[in-house]
Subunit: 421 residues, 4 copies
Amino acid sequence: MQTQILERMESEVRTYSRSFPVVFTQARNARLTDEQGREYIDFLAGAGTLNYGHNNPYIKQALVDYLASDGIVHGLDFWTAAKRDYLETLEELILKPRGLDYKVHFPGPTGTNAVEAAIRLARVAKGRHNIVTFTNGFHGVTMGALATTGNRKFREATGGIPTQGASFLPFDGYMGEHIDTLDYFEKLLGDKSGGLDVPAAVIIETVQGEGGINVAGLEWLKRLESICHAHDILLIADDIQAGCGRTGKFFSFEHADVVPDIVTNSKSLSGFGLPFAHVLMRPELDKWKPGQYNGTFRGFNLAFTTAAATMRKYWSDDTFERDVQRKGRVVADRFQAIAAWISEQGIEASERGRGLMRGIDVGSGEVADKITHKAFENGLIIETSGQDGEVVKCLCPLTITDEDLLEGLDILETSVKQALS
Amino acid sequence: MQTQILERMESEVRTYSRSFPVVFTQARNARLTDEQGREYIDFLAGAGTLNYGHNNPYIKQALVDYLASDGIVHGLDFWTAAKRDYLETLEELILKPRGLDYKVHFPGPTGTNAVEAAIRLARVAKGRHNIVTFTNGFHGVTMGALATTGNRKFREATGGIPTQGASFLPFDGYMGEHIDTLDYFEKLLGDKSGGLDVPAAVIIETVQGEGGINVAGLEWLKRLESICHAHDILLIADDIQAGCGRTGKFFSFEHADVVPDIVTNSKSLSGFGLPFAHVLMRPELDKWKPGQYNGTFRGFNLAFTTAAATMRKYWSDDTFERDVQRKGRVVADRFQAIAAWISEQGIEASERGRGLMRGIDVGSGEVADKITHKAFENGLIIETSGQDGEVVKCLCPLTITDEDLLEGLDILETSVKQALS
Amino acid sequence: MQTQILERMESEVRTYSRSFPVVFTQARNARLTDEQGREYIDFLAGAGTLNYGHNNPYIKQALVDYLASDGIVHGLDFWTAAKRDYLETLEELILKPRGLDYKVHFPGPTGTNAVEAAIRLARVAKGRHNIVTFTNGFHGVTMGALATTGNRKFREATGGIPTQGASFLPFDGYMGEHIDTLDYFEKLLGDKSGGLDVPAAVIIETVQGEGGINVAGLEWLKRLESICHAHDILLIADDIQAGCGRTGKFFSFEHADVVPDIVTNSKSLSGFGLPFAHVLMRPELDKWKPGQYNGTFRGFNLAFTTAAATMRKYWSDDTFERDVQRKGRVVADRFQAIAAWISEQGIEASERGRGLMRGIDVGSGEVADKITHKAFENGLIIETSGQDGEVVKCLCPLTITDEDLLEGLDILETSVKQALS
Amino acid sequence: MQTQILERMESEVRTYSRSFPVVFTQARNARLTDEQGREYIDFLAGAGTLNYGHNNPYIKQALVDYLASDGIVHGLDFWTAAKRDYLETLEELILKPRGLDYKVHFPGPTGTNAVEAAIRLARVAKGRHNIVTFTNGFHGVTMGALATTGNRKFREATGGIPTQGASFLPFDGYMGEHIDTLDYFEKLLGDKSGGLDVPAAVIIETVQGEGGINVAGLEWLKRLESICHAHDILLIADDIQAGCGRTGKFFSFEHADVVPDIVTNSKSLSGFGLPFAHVLMRPELDKWKPGQYNGTFRGFNLAFTTAAATMRKYWSDDTFERDVQRKGRVVADRFQAIAAWISEQGIEASERGRGLMRGIDVGSGEVADKITHKAFENGLIIETSGQDGEVVKCLCPLTITDEDLLEGLDILETSVKQALS
């Protein structure tokens, strides 16, 4: 395995190749193969980008067919047949069945682009600059999005430009189970000298991925929506990691029966790992003037094609949703058992999550790292999240076979026991 | 041609579908086909993203082969065989022959991501926050990059967050032909109360694409490099639009024999219209700590694959370069003639550009629009650029056949005459 | 009473002349006289600027003597005999007896200047940009200070420049009596993705004047100091309103036995209503280089003179302190009785404060305004504070005679009864 | 002369006491006396704060009389008889004779406060955030004002908060005598992608004091006014140093027959060295709502009193103006001769200025420092200005006697010859 050129030429900023220092060559659904021919079960799945697995054959076929037809690959924001098909499919299979009415903005093919566009639109629409975001939230690292992202690692690496335009408030549960953090938000909103500039919008992940699989309660989310309505504040659901079926519904906010004003999707939206993102907005919020937000890759037609294929394959009825929910329960049960075992060893641990977005909080990054390193040795790719990396996080493909899921869970259990014994 | 859903569901932010209100279905090299079967010659080429044409068969084959092999499509920043191949190819075919020594950062697959990463790195490396940028520069619209972009359209649509961290200086020629704008820069650098915070870096397009095909003189660029060296300021070449062969060299700064400290590439870097970008930096500038800048799509393996294929096909020797330069002269000659004809009609016009990045300045967006609308009617897709859209801009595929190039130029000439008679 | 020119020529920004629309001509200690010859008892005292009363004869004599001697009035930051005398007196009578060791910066003669200098110094000294400030805090309105001030009235009138560099946290008691808000602060400090940039300093008023006479508990303050020490964060006491004896000690933080790293004083510092301010800092924090912060009036010698006289007169022993504390109890008792009466009328009211910085919270600005308007009719000048102006606030001169104090309190009680019956 | 406590207790930020390390005790008109009884002629005059000399007896009498009457000293923004008198006098003696119609805002008693208020008002009035300011401009150091101040000394000492909301443009003559810098401004205004956010206002010193006695041409100023009118941009004259008669007119812009939309005055406005400032604004610009900008010392009645007295004494007719102009010519002639002598020594030097705001540019701070140090030895207090301190700057009291003026000039000439021989 030749890695010198990778070590020499790639910037020190690289991360995953430090945890998993092998050269990967092939992948299919939940299995990755490295250059030595070793297979790994993938509980990382591109940090939630590969909900439908690696090289999903159905989606790949749509892609290859499109390429064979000499369809438009790149067309800025031209109208293309692929874009039209995407919009139609999105409307028919995703929005209409959920009673949602949104217009669509393609701001560039990454999550951070979508967040920049979403918060900028909210500011323009409301004539206010402030965005409320939450502790442990992650919404991207370009400067606009970074203002809403809590991680010091990024915030301290701007080279002397403080972020601006966002206020952090405590996420659900942040101050302990007996304190409803929305009381604080509501008090600040009503306080003329509390220091909270009246926000244009609140941006929230219903389940915080990078922040540590922190799950906002359904009633808390519903109350958040009410507060926003009462104060004429827009609600932005950043569903980049939690969306596209990850929590057991297409949109993660469906569980709470909340209707955001603006939604961002990316990661698994293309279904195939292609860069892609869109912003959904209530039609009356579409205050953009032509060309006020642009980007070269804002109409990536291969992604339109695979995304539409994905929706047709998995979102025509609720079969897939129910399957994800079922697997989520499998993981939850097993994680609870593992957490219980860890706690018995004197390390307080607990399971949490929604759908197939699940984690075990083991209290420290050091412990979590031991587990994931051992798991990698044992053939399982799994990462940590949370402010200190204290949560072992499972984001396996939603399409994982039951066999692979169980094998992965077995490896994890074994690894935990090896690591902590 | 059914466009209702496109008009109804896509945000008002859309632009190109206003100028070219047809639904495109297919494309090959320099020709686009719409749903009615009508063909267009493409002098836009994804605003410089399709230097190697639409659906370039050689590159497509590499892509299809990779897909067939179940290669990794998305792997965050995993080491993959495709990434390794890309780095090797970049080093062997591009960097080494040019005597360049750079490390590589994949910051996310868009130009604005690359610019955000580049300027942030410069700030961190130099411990200063300011970035000097130039009048009519365009470097992206996410908040960090936007600070260096001159267009009011974007700058006024931030919803109340002023950009920060950049100072604009006059580009070469901005103050008239008898004023060397670098005199002003140099005076400000030496002035302790001139208001210019000592910059970490200067960011420049050697030929400004969106800004109106403004061409920096080669001596001016060389002097800019000297000034940067003398004042310990980094020089960032934003070669997103002008790079990848557009000006007749792989890097546009090769013409001036300048060696930037940091380079950004995107647009045509993948060779196939796939979202992709990298930042090149002198090795000693690689001050990133692991994970300080990230993004989900920072390792898009399909783009590694097509980019490497592109380099092998077009950049193994200087054949392609020379061909681009030859075509550039063809366009230049024809544009001069057209400009002369326009001037004869009483509308002062002039040609400018470098390589196949060329334009005719007709003095006003109104006149330019008349021409490009007429061209579209006549089967040529060509756009305008410049602060008022006053420059008719040719960014045809570098791989365009001579027949298509001449036909496109004929159509343009005809359209000019129809529009302005 | 001729007021036309005042109404015509003075900006609409004027405030107090709206509540008290008379032209004042004379004043002595706690009594003001208007042009009609009507006298008012003054429970406002220049919002805490006239702790030693209007035209205090002892201080005035020092001022007049200095003027008679042709002493330096204005000398930028020249060394003058008056400045030296001020520093000696400050050290001997104020700092040494309290075991404090500070260097002194004269940043310009207003509170907001002092706050700008204090937070800038803290940033420079710690190499971090963030300042933690508290809900309902008021620290001035120039842009640097404004970032730490909570009032929307000011924050929304910047004309499109968001403040930056400060994070608001809940003041003591803000989330109800059972929640220690410092738990939240401490959690955020330890959280790598909580969104709180590690602060250079915390700035706090121990009793918030403009914010509504919110009194920080002494143990809470002590814990705040501990947290700052544990995390290498500077503690800035903004004692502009609460200092100079207002709470019954020269510095308000003496009650809590806290030693701030930096202290700001202004308002009553000159003793005579002259513009004056200083910043005190622990000597090792004096990271200023010559001239890095300046201002034309940073050495106002008349204020040095009156301030030194004031210290000699009132701060040579603890007689004055004890008298202020005694009067504070008189006001507290009477305010409690008034609050109890108001509560009996069905309007929940309560007394709070420390020393002679006291208020009655009547729950709404509307009720409070009724009371203060009636008080004005009855010959008492008293204002409201708090986010909604819901607190009737007494800041009478500390030198008020017992007769005037009691008469003022009688007028207030009568006015309350007239207003709310 | 005891200076230990001054050296020990005052912050390292101190400056003038480094150049003039003596303790001053008395002063009258243009003469200062130190503790050793040594007299100095004062060509600094509080950096333009003492236009009417130290301890001007007429003004002092008004002050002492007011104190004797127990007039209001401090009254926040109460209506007082002193304020009314000030407004009446300002209107009758200053505004009306010059055909000016302004409302008045008292934003706090320092120049930087006035600038913060002025630019904030401009932003609010125009709904735009940007302020155009000029190279070498100085407008104060609080964060809002600092954005418009060019000095790196201050700009680099903010502790990591970049300034925002201002763009620097070249002052008259900055790019050499053959370039009209307003051409550049006008081009940027008309350029939709030039990077200049359309400004709310331009702020300018007609003669830059701290920047090096840079004199804007009268036609240049008139053209600047025209450009502002044409583009709906407000013109703010920062007359803090150049106003109050310094250039030979009450307002420095009178020479150019320009009528600014907003004017700031401070420094010599009180006439006696008392902290004081006001903002003048065209009545229709008074968009302030009550209390939107405040400050404790925004109604310093002693300054109202002395300022009104000053106007009555010096500005009832044009006698004083003509005398200042006459003295200005005396200084100019002598400075030209001195500059000529210096040039003969091989150090290129030149005289410049307007009225009694004059300097000799000797090319480097090193040379200028030699001269001023020698002058101090010889009994003349004179400072340098300019980006490198290269300009020896005369700001003597306007009321200086001819004897003292000539003696001061003699000392300067002698000192120059001693320093440079």
